[in-house]
Amino acid sequence: MATYGTNQFKNGLKFLMDGQPCNIVDNTIVQPGKGQAFNRVKYRNLITGKMIEKTFKSGEKVDVADVIDTELQYLYTDGGFWHFMDETSFEQYQANHAAVADYQKWLVEQTTCTVTLWNANPISVVPPKQVVMVVTDTDPGLKGDTAGTGGKPATLMTGAIVQVPLFITIGEKIICNSETGEYISRAK
């Protein structure tokens, strides 16, 4: 298996630790004037999301993780899996619940998402920052209200619930921020 030595460590490097893919977040070299050098490394386990710190003796090696970020179109879910397609090769991928968990309610069919593949299997899915959603349920608002005068909850087509201005009605298209889960504006 291919390896990386500590002198190749840098932010964003993907490697295997305890059989799971990890991503280096911070790499600090400790080099005493008259002693052995070490690398203080902070990394995120890409499966569990946990941040871990380890100190590697310089010269140590870690296995390369076959991890790539790719753009895939979200097709549909069958309840058990979420299906994606490469728009040039038409190759299909299925992601399990753990991979979509963070953004499950922000996946809109036919949108292009960033999918991280490990050994060609999706391990995380990130939808576009701005997604267009249809409001499926909300209380009727009062006419004449404008944004910024409070709000009300609205249920969207994926089941997500966001605070929207009072003038938004059922069936309207709105733009939301998928990272923060906040309403941005009406969609044109």
Binding site: Q31, G33, K34, G35, K57
Partner: protein
């Protein structure tokens, strides 16, 4: 940032020039002579953890592609000058180290190194602290022995006799970041890790800490104490950063040869490049004798970083290696 641009601000570079002038004025006043030590040498340090840059010279009627090394410190040539009778001397200039790049390291950096005849280790520590104060102002000076630091900060009463297990245990108990790649019986490395990970963060906090009496095994080119128990060596820390390393200098040529050979053996065992011993130095030590003296090497850029309150070396030098 564009690559042609300077790394540091123009004001910092002017402060750098003032700092260099201040140091030169100090030594002039102390009657210590500046020496222009050569950067190129046909031999280099055998230290396990120091790697030299090398270059190839073509010299008419001598030969082509002759290997020369860029000095990692001016120590050997300065010691030859001391043997030749130069008296108190200092060097303030560039040195080079292979593979060094971090917020605290550049492969090319400025070193201040000086030697004082008949100075004890304590006198040398105090003079080094005085030079630090030239740039940092009247910081308090703290003297603490290596053994005492391990006792105070890591609860290891006698580090010199402690086992590898006792050192390793400290990391397990403290639940610090896991250490990868260190053999459980490698006491030297576990001991070094306690020093760098646990003790150093406690050193030089708003003061100048002189850590002295290193273990005999880490003597390098320092004399051993009269009972051979510890090395007459110190390091200076300010704001958790190591900035200087000094010795009561070893004078016995046989011991030089012996320690060089030990270092070469370690390099061989670790598969590192093998360098030949500096015979010019060894011959000078044998024929002329090194006068009794103490010496210290101080990282000028790091001292300036502290004066400028920055933690990035490229903010105090004109150009980082990455935009040269």
């Amino acid at each position: 940032m564009n690559f042609w641009q300077v790394s540091a601000s123009i004001q910092v570079l002017k402060n750098r020039a003032d700092a260099l002038a201040k140091i030169r004025a100090f030594f002039k006043q102390q009657k210590v002579t500046e020496v222009d030590a050569p950067i190129l040498s046909s031999a280099t340090v055998p230290d396990l953890h120091l790697d030299s840059l090398q270059t190839y010279l073509n010299l008419p009627s001598i030969g082509n592609d002759l290997v020369f090394y860029l000095h990692t410190s001016p120590e050997y040539s300065m010691k030859r000058l001391l043997c030749a009778g130069m008296g108190d001397i200092y060097y303030l200039g560039k040195v080079f180290r292979q593979g060094d790049l971090s917020p605290l390291h550049q492969p090319e950096f400025t070193m201040l190194e000086w030697y004082r005849l008949d100075y004890s280790l304590q006198q040398m520590m105090l003079e080094t602290a005085k030079v630090v104060q030239l740039l940092l102002g009247e910081l308090a000076i703290e003297l603490i022995s290596y053994q005492q630091a391990f006792a105070d900060y890591a609860n290891i009463e006698n580090i010199h006799s402690a086992s590898a297990k006792a050192c390793k245990k400290y990391f397990l108990d403290k639940k610090t970041a896991e250490i990868v790649g260190v053999d459980k019986n490698d006491k030297n490395l576990w001991e070094q890790l306690i020093l760098t990970e646990i003790i150093e963060p406690k050193l030089g906090n708003n003061c100048i800490t002189c850590l002295y009496h290193y273990p005999a095994k880490d003597a390098l080119l320092a004399k051993l104490s009269v009972d051979n128990s510890v090395a007459e060596r110190f390091e200076i820390f300010v704001q958790q950063t190591e900035i200087a390393n000094g010795y009561l200098e070893l004078t016995d040529p046989q011991t030089y040869r012996q320690r060089f050979n030990e270092s070469l053996q370690q390099r061989k065992e670790q598969g590192k490049s093998y360098t030949q011993l500096d015979h010019n130095l060894l011959t000078a030590l044998e024929e002329q004798k090194l006068p009794k003296c103490s010496g210290v090497a101080l990282g000028f850029d790091r001292l300036l970083m502290l004066a400028q309150k920055t933690n990035k070396i490229d903010e105090v030098i004109p150009f980082s290696i990455l935009n040269n």
